[in-house]
Amino acid sequence: MFAIETKDLSKSFGKTTVVKGINLQVQTGEVLGFLGRNGAGKSTFINMLTGIIRPTSGSFSLLGIDGPSDHVKKRIGVMPDYSSLYGNLTAKKHLKYLAGVSGKTVTNQQCIDVLRSVGLEEHANQKAVKFSIVMKKKLGIAQAIIHDPDLIFLDEPTSGLDAESTIEIQQ
């Protein structure tokens, strides 16, 4: 079984084809990085796999389940390329709420543990509106892993970050 398998996956916006016939196989346990110039279609490709946008043609499967599938959603973690957070929720409440949406109840301690792993521990009870861009990115990563997914998609988790934070996140 492949963690990700795509067959001729394509996406067009109107007449412009942005992603054209991608065939890809990713093994379980593999970490795959995706490089390309700006506007190459990296985010578009990821968004198709994560159910954010609909493919124009082609097919894919995640964790052996043909997509787009609602069943596999509980088992994946996603940090989208651009997304504001829920401004009036604290970091901890973000994690509790979004884990709940994935069908998982998490304890305060689990939230704190995940926040610690991205270096946001001290800001657990601070509202997301007050976060800097880097802190938002870190919370974006935390919400992608809070429900302990089998497959994680991170879209530009380190862009705009200083070197220190980049190393922190890569660890």
Partner: protein, 230 residues
Amino acid sequence: MFSIGKREFISLFKGIKSIVIIAILLVSAYYSTKLAELLLSTGMNISAEERQNIYTVGIQFLILLFGQLFVMGLSHDVMNKELHERTIRFLVSRVARSQIVIGKFLGIWLFWLTCLFVSFLIVCVFAQTFDIIAFLQLTSLLTYQISLTILLSVLVPKPGFTMFLGILVGIAFPILIAWVTLTSNVWVAWMRYITPFYYIQHPNFAFLTNLLLSCVMLIISIEIFKRRDC
């Protein structure tokens, strides 16, 4: 689905708009009973049927006239705000899109059911009667209004625009619906069958049709939302 519903429900109680609307509802409930007592004391000719629901007549008028405005006022951006700010991406990557719409619907629905129930309880304390059929009729009306609000919020992408539309629809709809319900003009009279007032005119089970119409609107909302890139 339930997490989304719960969050929607709780967040509806926050904010100045909700507090004002809840206050209006509860104060009207109280004065509704006073009005009824006043009417009864004048010794007017009141039929048994009218006597039955006279105590809640104030609440009924409030919801008939302003229900759509209230629901829109609080929830016009229930879907499009998250689409606009793209927080919806956190949800669509986690759960089926139908569950997002249904969850939001349940949260809003429970909020209004709670408000309406408390209003009727206030009336019940003073009048010692709980008009079940009027309660169910108003619930069906609110259900319709909530579904319409969700449909518009899915259809119209800009939160700023649904706010404007909400005020417009909120004020114009009751007037239009009352007109198509009561008119004998055959060109518009058919519209009464897809609007909610027609089904709650008499104390019977016709109000169930409003629930059916709500389901149809919700299904349309879900189908549109499923086809949308977020």
